[in-house]
Symmetry: C2
Subunit: 253 residues, 2 copies
């Protein structure tokens, strides 16, 4: 069933009837061509999902009735933020789209030293807004309760400030993989498995890799280098490995 997530608080409860908010009306009726009697899932700012049914429709508005609650919580039980050095092409879109399906809580992007395609001032906002829309759509498609937030970071000192809010800090570092490092990620996931209140921030380099002085700056601030297996992963694959490993280690094992 189609799911919509809105950041408005609609005070939903079973049997409540309400006007479809404008953006939902457009998407449900004009894009998806829903009719009277069709049902969909609706999540509002309280992060509770409900099944709703369309009761009336005119050309300009529609009313719905809340039919039932959905009690399943598909959110990754820990708060994970993904920080990526900017890469070429549509890699950021791909990371946000798949990372949202895999449960990330937020995404940060930053021009790092070896970023081949840097985002200049004038296009940072536009890029972040577009990524925020991708996150919303992906959250709806993967039936999440939360839309991940997407942010821009101006520089490494801003990244380090942000990282103060996290309990665990990780750098996905290719050199660690080359040196056969194996235990850092498993140790972190073990900590997270034992305490779902802990949060994690993970830094990933762009396709050009991470500069030594960037690694030093981060490790001085409690970031730990970790290998994501022995093969060399591309910039857009590494965050998906981390999130999949987190889900498997915490949700399934």
């Amino acid at each position: 069933m189609q799911r919509f997530i809105t950041v408005d608080n609609l005070d939903l409860e079973i049997n409540k009837k309400l006007l479809l908010p404008d953006d939902l009306f457009h998407h449900a009726v004009h894009v998806l061509r829903m009719k009277i009697g069709n049902q969909f899932e609706l999540v509002d700012a309280t992060e509770q999902a409900y099944v709703c049914e369309i009761e009336t429709l005119t050309k300009k508005e529609g009313t719905i009735k809340v039919v039932s609650t959905i009690d399943k919580n598909p959110e990754l039980p820990i708060n994970v933020s993904i920080v990526c050095g900017v890469s070429k092409g549509d890699k950021a879109e791909e990371i946000v789209k798949k990372g949202t399906q895999l449960g990330a809580a937020s995404f940060y992007f930053i021009n790092s030293k070896y970023s081949v395609a840097r985002w200049k001032n004038q296009k940072q906002n536009k890029k972040i807004n577009r990524l925020q829309t991708i996150a919303k759509n992906a959250a709806e498609q993967s039936h999440r309760l939360k839309i991940p937030r997407v942010f821009w970071l101006n520089d490494f000192s801003e990244l380090i400030d942000k990282s103060e809010n996290y309990d665990l800090k990780l750098i996905a570092y290719e050199e660690s993989a080359k040196q056969g490092e194996k235990s850092a990620l498993a140790q972190m996931i073990n900590q997270l498995r034992q305490n779902h209140e802990l949060s994690l921030i993970a830094f990933f380099g762009p396709e050009g890799g991470i500069a030594k002085d960037e690694v030093e700056q981060l490790t001085k601030n409690q970031f730990k280098c970790a290998a994501l297996g022995p093969r060399i992963l591309r910039a857009e694959t590494a965050p998906l490995y981390l999130l999949s490993a987190l889900s498997f280690g915490i949700e399934l094992e």
Copy 2:
């Protein structure tokens, strides 16, 4: 360092000098503009990696010398095959590219019941050949020793015949995720962790999902339904989740 993988047996050993095979000459010299003295990694049919150095170059050929062996083995220790119902667009390319980075041994594609974009007879070969090239490039980039093989399957009975060669058989089934199934994947990974000789074949539906009678046909033939976490993953994300979880569970934990 750039890695090349060839399926020829070049009888490589330290200090051996040899003519660069034609395809490697083209790639190294014309595409990557390598010069005398440049080094690269070379893996031949024996799946051993060596560092080689270019010794002589003319317009038409080059000779190299084998400098040293590389003893690291980055291959996923178990044999995993990914079977995908054909999806729209470039999803097959994405699955092969990222799945190769994540260690898959082979890929199979099949027109399944809910495939929106079916591959017709005349384009199956072309598609498979293109995917095989993508697998080779991705294997070189992720510094593997093996190029995964890519195959076409004509129908489900051919899939079931193939699956006889595998010890463990999995269906990534959305309905299992919806019903809160949690333990099947962890159980399989536990078996694989204890015995690296076991092999795994995993079936993934196209974007339209898996038909009930397809699931029945597979489960009758020892395939087990497994959820890949509680969120709904898209067709091109699910195989990456499985391979990442396998790598984490078997190589890092």
